[in-house]
């Protein structure tokens, strides 16, 4: 009984494998022809220019909206992951390709602790490539980081 069932199982596994291999081949072929998949990142990470900080942000509206004022929560840590809780943060940005800045002047409104900072007043007034520049001033030193965002 056990022997029989084993053979049956391994045959099933083999045929399933065949289907999977075929499916992957079709999928790969399809992928070659299809346009690249849309960006699915909802959390963005970066490291500041001099490597003093690690930054991550999340937005209160997803995906990041065009034409809607929204908020970010920025999380600031040292490279080894310790939260930086008492930073002064300035936010600026724009579209390098079009030579214009942000339509609003976003600001840090609250600092809920554990290295998190709520940035209010974020707004993008068109789709395309935006650059968000974050200037950080805290005990580890002054540094700046850039998020590149494709909308």
């Amino acid at each position: 009984m056990p022997a029989q069932s084993e053979t049956g199982n391994s045959r099933l596994v083999k045929s399933l494998l065949g289907v999977v291999v075929a499916a992957i081949a079709v999928y790969a072929g399809w992928n070659l022809l299809a346009p690249p998949p849309p960006q699915v990142d909802v959390a963005y990470n970066t490291v500041s220019a001099d490597g003093l900080y690690q930054l991550m942000f999340e937005t209160d509206v997803e995906p990041i909206p065009v034409g809607q004022t929204h908020s970010w929560v920025l999380t600031l840590t040292t490279p080894d992951g310790a939260p930086v809780t008492d930073a002064t943060i300035r936010v600026d940005g724009g579209m390098p390709a079009h030579g214009h800045g942000l339509p609003t002047a976003p600001q840090v409104s609250t600092n809920p602790g554990e290295g998190r900072y709520r940035i209010e007043g974020m707004r993008f007034n068109m789709g395309g490539h935006w650059e968000i520049r974050i200037a950080i001033s805290a005990p580890p030193g002054d540094d700046a980081a850039v998020f590149n965002i494709e909308l």
Binding site: V66, G67, T69, G101, P103, T104, M126
Partner: protein, 399 residues
């Protein structure tokens, strides 16, 4: 596999076909993508149907003016997309700017060509006491509420304050006599009258929130594209219209400012539109920021119903004056083809001239124009105009 390949590649061979990216953009411009009506926390009656009905009566009421001849509808004509076809609006006298259409105005972040008001209700108060528009004054408006609309006012806003002891004509922006009479009033009376005045604006705003942009041929085209179908019948575009759309979202850069379902980014740009010779120097947005911050009827003011935290437009407004010199709010292009003349003071008479303006990208009379100039072929110009016409409202008989 070969058959699959052929099947995938064939549609892309049509010369004027849109890429996947272009299709995404086309869909993003469709009315179906319009966000829900944004809340106005500064006006607690914004979505109150009796307030909107009251506001509709006020919109057409000519007694809300110094000479009894001017209503909002004098300039914002209901059968003309709520504008007046004139280069500059005319009330009691001629103003310095082009009357703006009102469809979809409730989605606007800032009001007026220069955005010097941050809510529909605060906006409505401005023409009421502008000497060239309604030329009314605050106590006269309050007395008119009591005499004509007492019960309707009470049902929406509660009882009117005592008014019978107040002068017939008094207000901070009127004639010298009206201003003197206003200054002579007790501070508490002035505040009570300001409250009635603000409520008048809130009723008008509730009405204006109901004015939505109508669906157009473009929307039917864009919805079909969005569903991955080829638009048919009325929704199908001619080759010229398709070319115009392709230019608009591509090489002509129009999308940089005219984007989203209302074809506006709700921001301010200097596009080198000439200064009128017979009007005072107009600095556009550069002058408006200070005025908005000082407006007692703004979102942070005493008559606003919003908690300060909700006043995001005001709190995160960019203060930089230099880049806002002669910058004006990007107008919606819905219905634009049917309402010449164009720009903030009607400087440009026809759509052909508008395209010419974008092609030449003239130097701004002050500040710096953001336009870089676009080279159009003769056919390209025609195509853009043909496309803009698809944004005109269709007959109401149309689905």
């Amino acid at each position: 596999m070969l058959a699959l390949l052929a099947g995938l590649l064939l549609p892309a061979c049509a010369p004027d076909d849109f890429s996947t990216d272009e299709k995404k953009i086309i869909r993003s411009l469709s009315l179906a993508e319009l966000a829900p009506l944004p809340a106005d926390p500064s006006n607690r009656h914004a979505d109150d149907p009796p307030a909107a009905a009251f506001g509709a009566s006020l919109f057409f009421d000519r007694r809300l003016s110094g000479d009894g001849q001017v209503s909002c509808a004098t300039c914002h004509k209901i059968d003309r997309q709520f504008q007046d076809d004139l280069p500059r609006g005319v009330g009691v006298a001629q103003t310095d700017r082009r009357t703006m259409p009102l469809a979809g105005v409730a989605w606007s972040l800032f009001l007026f060509w220069d955005g010097r008001r941050d809510s529909l209700w605060a906006q409505a108060l401005t023409p009421l006491e502008d000497p060239r528009e309604h030329a009314g004054n605050r106590t006269a408006f309050a007395h008119h509420m009591a005499a004509t609309y007492g019960e309707r006012y009470r049902r929406v806003f509660g009882p009117l304050p005592p008014l019978s002891h107040l002068p017939a004509d008094a207000g901070p922006k009127g004639t010298p006599a009206e201003r003197a009479a206003w200054r002579a009033m007790a501070a508490a009376d002035r505040k009570a009258v300001d409250g009635v005045f603000a409520n008048l604006g809130k009723a008008l705003a509730a009405f204006e929130r109901s004015i939505r942009p109508p669906r157009t041929r473009f929307d039917r085209f864009a919805e079909a594209i969005g569903r991955g179908e080829e638009p048919k019948g009325e929704a199908a575009f001619t080759a010229l219209e398709r070319e115009g759309l392709k230019l608009f979202i591509g090489k002509a850069n129009c999308l940089e400012c005219h984007n989203g379902p209302r074809f506006t980014d709700d921001h301010f740009h200097n596009t080198g539109v000439p200064q009128l010779e017979d009007a005072p120097v107009d600095r556009g947005r550069a002058r408006a920021v200070a005025e908005l911050l000082a407006d007692p009827f703004n979102c942070l003011g005493a008559f606003s119903d919003a908690p300060a935290a909700a006043c995001t437009a005001l709190r995160f407004m960019r203060p930089d004056e230099a880049s806002m010199e002669r910058a004006y709010k990007t107008p919606s292009l819905r219905g634009a083809a049917g309402r010449p003349p164009y720009m903030h003071a009607g400087q440009i008479p026809t759509l052909d001239d508008v395209i010419d303006h974008y092609s030449r990208a003239p130097q701004a009379p002050a500040g710096t124009s953001e336009l870089r100039g676009v080279v159009f072929t003769e056919r390209g110009r025609k195509a853009l105009v043909a496309f803009l016409k698809t944004l005109d409202p269709v007959d109401s008989s149309d689905p």
